[in-house]
Every structure is written in C-alpha cells, then in structure tokens.
Symmetry: C2
Subunit: 338 residues, 2 copies
C-alpha cells in the first residue's frame, strides 16, 4: 500500500516531515521515501525497522519506479489523498495497477493509545493555561489580532509546539461569522469575545472555543449562551461507545432547535481530533463513523445571530467505555463577564 | 469549468473563504457555491457580477447537482485540485462528464496586475520591517521559538494580516536542515541565525530568508555566505522574460557547484509567489514554465553543511521587460555579525 497522507505517514512511521511517501508491504517491510531536505530528520525520527530512501525527485515518482521494478500485481492507495493528476501520471508513467481504498489508516487512528491520549491531554492543558493568561489581560481597545497573537505566544510559553490552526478571536457581531479571521477591530464594552484555538503537543492537537462577555452582554446573547451550554452538555451526556456520528449530532442539535435557534446553528457538532485537528469520526449528519472507546472528539455547538454576535463552546472529550473524559478544563458553566 | 482550488477561486471571484466551488461558464456567468459559514462573507467580498449560492451540503455536491440538471456535455476541471475520491464520487453520483485540465487558472495568475504588484510590494515591506525589529532584540539565550513568535507578532504590527507560512528560525547546526521547525534551543555566541518567513497583505504573500551571525561565525560559513550571495546575484542578473524555469535554476546552481558545494544545495532555486507562497513558475530542474513580464518569483539559493550550519538568502523579485525589480529590501550584502 502506498500511504501519501502526511498524518498517516507520521502515525505509521513517526516521520514528521512535510513531504514523503510510505510503502507498506504485505511482508511487513515498510519503506519511507522522502527528499534531501529531510535526510537528518529521517535518521532521528523514523522507527528503526523501517527502510528509508532519500531521493532528488518527488517521493511519489521514486515510489512508482521502485514498485514498478518490483513487479507488484497491484498497489492499494488512499483515494482521498491522491489527486487525479497524480493518479493519471502514475498510470501513464507505467506504475503498477492502483486499487483505491478509503480511510484504512485514518480508521486505525480513531482509537487512541495511552501515549496518544497523554499527548492530547497535555495539548488541552496548554490551551487552557494559555486562555487563562489572555483572559487576564483583556482591556478596552485591544484588537482581535493582538489577542490572537497573544494566544499564539502563550501556547508556546505554556509548552505547546505551536497553535494547532489559525487562532480565531472575534468581537461583537463579528463573532456571528463562524470562520472569519481576526482583524484590527478594537474591543468595546458590551461586546462578546469568541475564542477558538488549540495547541500542538508531540504532534497532537487540542481545539477549544470559549465565548465571554466584555461588560454586560446583550440579553439575547446571555440566553443563547445558556442554550449552547445545555446543547453541549446534552451531547456529552448522550455520547457512548457505538453511537453513530450522524445520530450523535442530534443530541446537541435537538436542544438548539427546541429553543428556536436551529437555523442559526449551521455547522457540524464536532469532529475527531488527534494528529489532525479534523479527523474521523465526524459528528455531523454526513458522518459514516461510530464513536469507539478511546476515540477523542471535539463537541462544539454554536448559535450565530447576524448583526448581534455568536456563542460557541467547544471542549475535547475522550469516549470511554463507561463514561466521557473531558480533556478541556477552562471554566464555562457561567457566561463569564469581564 | 469547475474551479476547486481556493486561490484560483479568490483570483477569479475575490471570495477568500476556505470552502467553496466556482463554476465558470462559456456564457460568462460565473456561479460561486459555498456553505452557511460564509453567508456574510460572500455578500461582502464576491464580485457583484457573480451569482452566489449557499448550501447545507458540500459545495462540490451542490455543483454536481446543478451541472447535472443543466445537462452540460462536459465540464472541465483542474486535475491537480481534485482527489481521486471526489472524481470517483462525481462519476458514480451521475455528474456530467469531466475533462481534465491543468493549470488553466494558475497560469493566468503568473502575470501580476498593478494592484497585485502593489500588494506584493507591501507584503515584502512588512517582512523587511518585521525582521529589522527582531534583529534589534537578539540576545544570548533567546530561543528559536521566541524569535519566531516575535517575528509573527511584528508582521502583524507592521501591517500584515498574518505570517505567510510557519515562520522558520534556526540556530547553529540546526540551520543545516532546510525545513526544520523552530525549537526551544537557546542561542549561543558563534552560531548563525537563519530566518525564513513572510507576510500576507491583501491575500498576497512575501517570502524572505536572511542568515546572520551571532558573534564571530565559523570561517567556512563566512565563505559559504559569500558563495550563496554570489549565486543569488548571478541568478537575478540572468533572469529575463522568456527564460525557462528549468534553465533559470542553473544560473544560481552553477556558482554553487563551481565552489564545490553542489551536494549541499538540495532544493530548488526559487518559486513563483502571489496568492500562494509557492505557485508557478517554479525555478527548478522540473519546472515547465517560463519567466514572463510581471511574473514575481523568489530567489533562494542555500548551502547546508551538516553539523555546522546553513546559509540561505532569499528575495522576491519581479521580472520586468527590461530589468528585475527586487521587492525585498532587507540588507544582505555583508554577512551581518550581531
């Protein structure tokens, strides 16, 4: 099998570089192919049982030539991580026949090992401490970009390798846009502040959202906060091993719809998290996965009212065989007013 | 034509969201499809002549259904920006016949307009000023991560939207690894410091590398600095409209090989830059593009000596019909010793 997704390669070989291909053979001999830039890194990181090759051409071309020489009858590949151009080129250049698979490796990654869980817990803890530091400093006139930059710095100072994705900080009505980037907008009294960010520790990500009020918030947003919190708690209470992601989403959505805010909740309820910030199982109507023991997922209901603001609360949880472990510890039970 | 690459979509429609599909029709009516999260953003950003649709399903599924209803004989798509899984699904779900194209839009993007050049110049200027600020603060004991974090903050303070990619700061022998991430390693006297970073302004990227010495450097690295600088100057002197990227690379490589450091220069000489940090034309042996008037490229020769350190110098230049315009202004003519 040809493994071309970088998180899958890292999971199987420990190689964390940003370019490479892993060949997994039926005989159990794995081969990692990468280029010059990673020569030192390969020697330090890659599991010693794995053969490594450094090439001056693309790792995919090198893999194609090697597999063609070895005369394999067919080679499995992951159709979600190969472009049509790569696939066409493989065929026209005489690579052995390819057979599409989906999610063979990413499904192995759903159930986390003890060492993966330890990294995920540390990543959640780093984000908790970074947010606490930043909340202490919030003042009138600060910009979204300044707070985002402070969070990024705090993530590193508290032990993270870096932020897990582009940190989101949104003030007031800007928070009604679930994925807008931080701007030079200045904070004024009465606005909400929505944070969505995470930390990387040993390659593993955390992801958390908190919404706080800077001064007395709009009464509707205070109501909305309570609904979002209730939706998140309902979802976590209902999570159990074996629950399909497409049913899990209803646990949170039902609370929001019952409160009349269905149309203002437009994204999925959550997502698996690990070496990637978004990985299976999805918790959405389109999810094809089930929650398993030691699956780690985010739970992030939100309500967004255009022109007024949005509230999102997001924790990362581990699905245990008897109970849920919440990895995120930052306070959320009351709408914090700064 | 189905446009699925986000930078291509931004180029053609001004939409800067992180999920969407643009349909370009022969009749000249473009349609942008995206989801709930970008409802506000679409109204603010998208060129008014473009029809927009907000969907609850993936934009690609929505596009497939619309194009199937409209009974098109065939639909062009960009085979480098569609996965085999998406393509297979398109066919099995009854989408109209797809015809692969490569780089139709990205080739339009090679020649920059006046407003794009203005953004690229501002992005280069932001990075220049951010580096000057950080160079003033360097002290013994500072870590790579601290300097990287300072650069990221300075990029924003000097007018950038954010850093263009994960900022690289490497000390001493760590700088021999062209793509290693910043670590908690502390700076000591006699080490080089290699910076590689950029800024985004109005969506356009800059990219620059500088290598400085903290205290008296190793004599070999001082020699290497002069060779890398000479290679970069030779490349820039030789750039002209019509030069193929695969020949352009030799202009810099020849200098490095003549000095006996060929094996220590393992990456390409440069790359186009614009809405993406790496875009055509490549300046490497595998490049299939030519330099055109108002093409903007980085020029980044480097020499990496394992166990000792590396030197890379990178500027962004515009290829003009009569001369090269260097967008990066940070000093480089001498090996700066702090």
């Amino acid at each position: 099998m040809l493994v071309t997704s970088l998180p899958d390669i890292r999971y199987l070989s420990a190689f964390s570089g940003s370019s490479g291909v892993l060949i997994v053979t039926a005989e159990g001999q794995d081969i990692l192919l990468t280029d010059f830039r990673y020569a030192c890194q390969v020697r330090e990181e890659v599991d010693p049982g794995i053969e490594t090759e450094i090439h001056n051409e693309s790792a995919l071309s090198a893999a194609r030539k090697r597999l063609a020489r070895e005369n394999h009858a067919k080679v499995a590949f992951e159709s979600r991580y190969m472009t049509v151009a790569e696939w066409t080129n493989w065929k026209s250049e005489g690579g052995p026949p390819l057979e599409a698979t989906t999610e063979w490796v990413v499904e192995l990654r759903m159930k986390k090992s003890e060492s993966e869980l330890a990294a995920l817990r540390r990543a959640a803890g780093v984000a908790d401490r970074a947010l606490a530091e930043v909340l202490d400093t919030i003042q009138s006139g600060v910009t979204e970009l300044e707070l985002a930059s402070h969070l990024d710095r705090a993530v590193i100072e508290h032990g993270g390798e870096r932020s897990a994705f582009e940190t989101i900080v949104q003030f007031g009505d800007h928070s009604a846009r679930p994925h807008a980037r931080p701007s030079r907008r200045q904070l004024t009294r009465g606005e909400v502040v929505l944070f969505d960010f995470g930390a990387i520790v040993d390659g593993y990500a955390s992801d958390m959202s908190r919404t706080v009020a800077f001064g007395k918030p709009d009464p509707e947003l205070a109501t909305v906060y309570a609904i979002v919190l209730k939706a998140q708690e309902a979802a976590m209470d209902g999570f159990h091993v074996g629950l399909a992601g497409r049913y899990a989403v209803a646990l949170g959505r039902d609370v929001i719809e019952a409160a009349g805010y269905g149309p203002q909740f437009g994204h999925s309820l959550g997502h698996g998290i690990g070496l990637e910030v978004h990985e299976p199982p999805g918790i959405s109507r389109r999810s094809e996965h089930r929650l398993e023991a030691d699956t780690v997922v985010s739970v992030e209901p939100g309500i967004y009212i255009e022109g007024l603001g949005g509230v999102r609360i997001e924790d990362v949880v581990r699905v245990g065989s008897s109970a849920i472990e919440v990895l995120t510890s930052a306070p959320k039970d009351e709408f914090i007013i700064l």
